[in-house]
């Protein structure tokens, strides 16, 4: 326990997640085993949370429940990004996905007054079965490939903490990636105009 607390203080991620870590430590039967690092424990917590909330998102019949579990999923991914030392992406994930995009989705659900579905899936059952089988095949293929040829990368790069900062992201955004940045701003403008035209009540003919 003492070594764990020392490790906790040495780890830069420790401060925001101290309570999660301690709660997980108490709930897991770790006694007698070597100290589990903060990164791996947080990975386990957030990975299980991410998978559980993703499954909840696609199985709930009430779309508002789907939206709320999707917000939880985005927060779990934020945690995973923090275990990867990608602070800027983690912040943008909360701002853009859990904030802006989900507000839009919930707004449309409320506007259209979509209620609970009597049946979640529709169409021919063969399509559902086939699609699910293909999806499972995909994850099987990736797992088999990774098992046969592991990437061999077992820990984060030495400069991982410096490349994820706002400073480093901003540096390359306004130098190397300046043209894509301008292009994406144009795309957002086009999408904005397109959305307004599509959602307009009366589109004049001719």
């Amino acid at each position: 326990m003492y070594e764990l607390l020392i490790g906790l203080r040495a780890d830069p991620l420790a401060t925001p997640f101290q309570f999660v870590y301690l709660a997980a430590f108490i709930s897991l039967p770790l006694h007698g085993s070597p100290a589990v690092s903060l990164q791996s424990l947080l990975f386990a917590v957030f990975a299980i949370g991410a998978i559980a909330s993703a499954i909840a998102t696609i199985t709930r019949k009430n779309p508002v429940a789907s939206a709320m579990t999707l917000v939880a999923h985005f927060f779990m991914l934020t945690g995973l990004y923090l275990t990867l030392d990608a602070q800027f992406v983690a912040a943008v994930q909360v701002l853009v996905y859990a904030g802006a995009i989900m507000v839009l989705v919930v707004f449309v659900i409320m506007l259209l007054n979509v209620g609970r579905e009597s049946q979640a899936t529709g169409g021919r059952p063969i399509r559902t079965t086939l699609g699910t089988l293909l999806a499972v095949l995909l994850v099987g293929m990736i797992s088999v490939t990774l098992a046969a040829r592991p990437t061999g990368l077992n820990q984060l790069a030495a400069n991982a903490t410096t490349i994820g900062t706002t400073e480093a992201i901003g540096q390359s955004l306004f130098t190397t990636y300046l043209f894509p940045f301008e292009a994406v701003s144009l795309l957002l403008l086009a999408a904005l105009i397109g959305a307004v035209i599509l959602a307009k009540r009366h589109v004049q003919e001719g």
């Binding site: 990608a86 699910t132 992201i169």
Partner: protein, 104 residues
Amino acid sequence: MLPTSIPLDYYLILSALLFVTGVIGVVTRRNAIVIFMSLELMLNAVNLSLVAFSSFLGDTAGQMFVFFIMAVAAAEAAVGLAIVLSLFRNKQTVYVDEVNIMKW
């Protein structure tokens, strides 16, 4: 038990699982808004593997891609939900199996 540091493969398998969850959502659900949310799940799964590669290889490129994917996802959200809105206005439904005018 868990290893002391998580290898890249774990993140990639997690990302594959989340992507497949999204695929199953798109294939099986009939509510257009839920299909839309499943698309977001797939985009986020790809983002996770990009960030994982970026951090494990020590290269900013992966995180830049995630930044641009988020911008495209925001544009897609705006246009996609506007389409759902005008679909509802014309057909009074958001269920994709009831929209079959272009079905052969």
